[in-house]
Symmetry: C2
């Protein structure tokens, strides 16, 4: 469905709801695919959403709630009667139901858990934080004792109702519930009905522990080209399965977060601003709140750099021309540091940087920085010499750029590592910390060189 | 397989190859999963790779070549004898074989195409550029005329050899080859063997045209939680299928590119530096080449800003204190602009920003910038007043920050849009352009306010 068609449908739905024609509005969205229905819901008011959701079947309501942003879904779910809510929860995929329940008012969560059918399964999913492998897994997949015959498995699948999400793998477990192998549906179709499952499974499989980060799960699914990843406890018992679509969503979310963070946009704890499009459409004050912290930190950096300049006021009074090169020295230090931070953060996410071998990475980066510094320092030095007709000014500017660029490049690798060791997400904190340090050291180096040569200047 | 285990195996393989024990080295990597084998290959020299690849079976060699970086794979493939190469190409997935052939020496490509079995199929895949939906699709999937009986399909699947990648969907086409519906393997298992395929397929499906960008394909797979996406021509004929693992790889690649670009790292045309880990491990001169352009552009920005300061030399000589606040004014303008660029770029990738409604987005962003400017200008103005004991200095700094922040925030949205309209990738060019403009305008605004109040200052 095209974006234009969606916008047109949205306008029509709004018009119908305003004129009280609720059933016509519901009929209009009924034939759409769930993600498109959700997109229309996102642009309606909570009141309009409630009106509409009450008119659709539980299964369709479940699909819409699965696709909505977590906070929108929770707000909308809380407007439903408890009986309707439990029907909808029963229709949802267990992992999505658990996520929604986790966001509901605690009293409502208790009531719902008492009434829903898969209560035990969902309660076990609720145990894991949202951003872990356990938080991403579903409890709905095909698992059989390893000696089960292929024919029996076929009969079981035939007896089950059609589900929206059907994982095309069959998991084999031993008597203790430990995962022993995985078969694909296609392997099952090819196998003789009397063969035991164990005979057709692949016993060399990739898995993840429930407490691992969701990003690792996404990396494994990506690296090994899997459609689903089994989640195990420490002893190898099968706890659940992560489907590739949830992993992609997690990857998209992490990539967005990383890009926002590297642009100095601080996500709130619940990541509302990152998941939804609040940065583009939401209330303006929200944008202020997420953008101000980074700007304040770089303000401190700028003021500290100003403080350094203040210390050298006398030199500056003698040679006011020194002020002309403050921007270029700051830019070279700041931007080479930013590049290194970007390479470190992405290198770590993609597993290119081995933290056990960090010394080697750092040495290489210092070499890169020195080379960049010499090239840039040379160019800026020549420009400064020509512009001011003074080779000493050129020398001061050039030397300052060589040193700040080398230092900033090295710090761009070192600072994120240290921040990481402190247990803070380096993607959030590295940029402002690096900017502040680089502004400060850049001005210090520049004016130290200037003082060194001041007697020769003019 | 853990990273440590991999490193240990790599060292062992190297040691064996050095002492001429090639077969032992090949035996050591044989039991590993293909992505792990590829990771070991990546760290070997081309000569070592060639020695080892000759000793493994064609199927295993195919898997390794599929997993390697495109350029590494092409270099390695070119060392193989033409007969071995065609055997390996026959074992590769058609989409991967087409990608590899596209990177080979033209003469070798012609020779191989003459000898491989799926020559026609692969030649049709070669028609589409790598970064389009057509370039991402495979020709290996289950497709049947819509009237085919379920039982016949089962028999066909049983007759086929097991493949590494097996798409769990069955595609139904009409007499003209147009896609009419899609069934999942699980639906097939549930269906009566005498039913025609048309009776069990879902006729409401999502598809993409072959010439669309690969990023759109990835977005569709993600949005609609699909395991595979059919690729059609303009008249609805089924041309191929994109699997979710290729889409994830494309998404990862695009996200890495965006993060690198926003950090001012220019990828070369063939994206070598982005796809592989050359930024972390490769030759140092490569890092210089991709990092220098951005730094040079920001150097120009810094020097232009310096030129503006130079114009106001007289004001600066009278009130040297003005130099102390150059860093903070530059930081506020620069960083608020960078935030807006990040939001625009990501918003566009995620489809949050509607370019037809750009005026509204821009107005909102100006509002955000004005709010940020007032908050930051107030704080910096108060700090400057207290530090210098001079309310006029505070007023100049504060007003300059209000104006530059508002302007930079707006430009952070406007510049990427204009760059986009010029047909240039905004993720590459926006940052340096914005930085240059912001440095220049920031200093201009600051010193204009300063001159305005200069008679009152001191």
């Amino acid at each position: 469905m095209t974006e234009e068609h969606l916008i047109h449908t949205l306008e029509e739905v709004r018009r119908l709801l305003e004129s009280g024609q609720r059933h016509q509005a519901a009929a209009l969205i009924a034939p759409l695919l769930p993600p498109d229905q959700a997109e229309i819901f996102e642009d309606l008011t909570l009141d309009e959403q409630t009106q509409l959701l009450k008119l659709v079947e539980a299964r369709q309501a479940a699909n819409i709630l699965e696709e909505l942003d977590e906070d929108d879904a929770a707000s909308l779910a809380e407007t439903l009667d408890i009986d309707v809510l439990t029907q909808v929860l029963d229709e949802m995929e267990p992992d999505e139901a658990a996520d929604l329940l986790g966001d509901l008012d605690p009293e409502l969560r208790r009531q719902s858990l008492r009434q829903i059918a898969d209560s035990v399964e969902i309660q076990s999913l609720l145990r894991y934080p949202d951003d872990t492998a356990g938080g991403l897994m579903t409890s709905e997949y095909y698992v059989f004792p390893e000696e089960t015959q292929v024919g029996t498995i076929f009969e079981y699948i035939r007896s089950q109702p059609i589900k929206d999400e059907e994982i095309p793998y069959i998991y084999a477990i031993d008597e203790q519930g430990r995962l022993t192998g995985i078969a694909r549906l296609a392997d099952l179709i090819r196998a003789h009905p009397e063969l035991p499952l164990l005979a057709i499974v692949d016993t060399q499989f990739v898995s993840i522990e429930a407490n691992e980060d969701q990003e690792i799960a996404a990396q494994l699914l990506n690296r090994y080209d899997l459609l689903a990843l089994p989640v195990l406890d420490g002893s190898g018992h099968l706890l659940g399965v992560i489907t590739v679509d949830d992993a992609i969503a997690a990857l998209e979310e992490e990539a967005t977060e990383d890009i926002y963070k590297s642009a100095g946009i601080m996500a709130t704890r619940d990541n509302q601003s990152v998941k939804s499009d609040l940065m583009v459409r939401g209330p303006i004050w929200r944008s202020w709140i997420v953008r101000i912290p980074f700007l304040l930190l770089t303000m401190i950096g700028g003021l500290l750099a100003g403080g350094v300049i203040g210390v050298f006021e006398e030199a500056l009074e003698t040679v006011v021309v020194l002020a002309f090169f403050i921007p270029v020295v700051m830019n070279m230090g700041g931007n080479s540091g930013t590049q290194s931070v970007g390479i470190f953060i992405r290198g770590q996410v993609l597993g290119q940087i081995d933290l056990n071998d960090f010394g080697k990475h750092l040495l290489r980066e210092i070499g890169v920085g020195l080379g960049l510094g010499v090239i840039l320092g040379l160019i800026a030095g020549i420009v400064a010499t020509i512009w001011q007709g003074d080779v000493i000014i050129g020398l001061v500017v050039g030397l300052a750029i060589v040193c700040t660029t080398t230092l900033s490049t090295a710090l761009g690798f070192l600072v994120p590592l240290l921040i990481n060791k402190l247990g803070i997400d380096p993607a959030v904190a590295s940029e402002p910390v690096i900017t502040t340090i680089n502004d400060f050291t850049g001005m210090l180096i520049y004016f130290l060189f200037a003082s060194l040569f001041i007697t020769t200047l003019r």
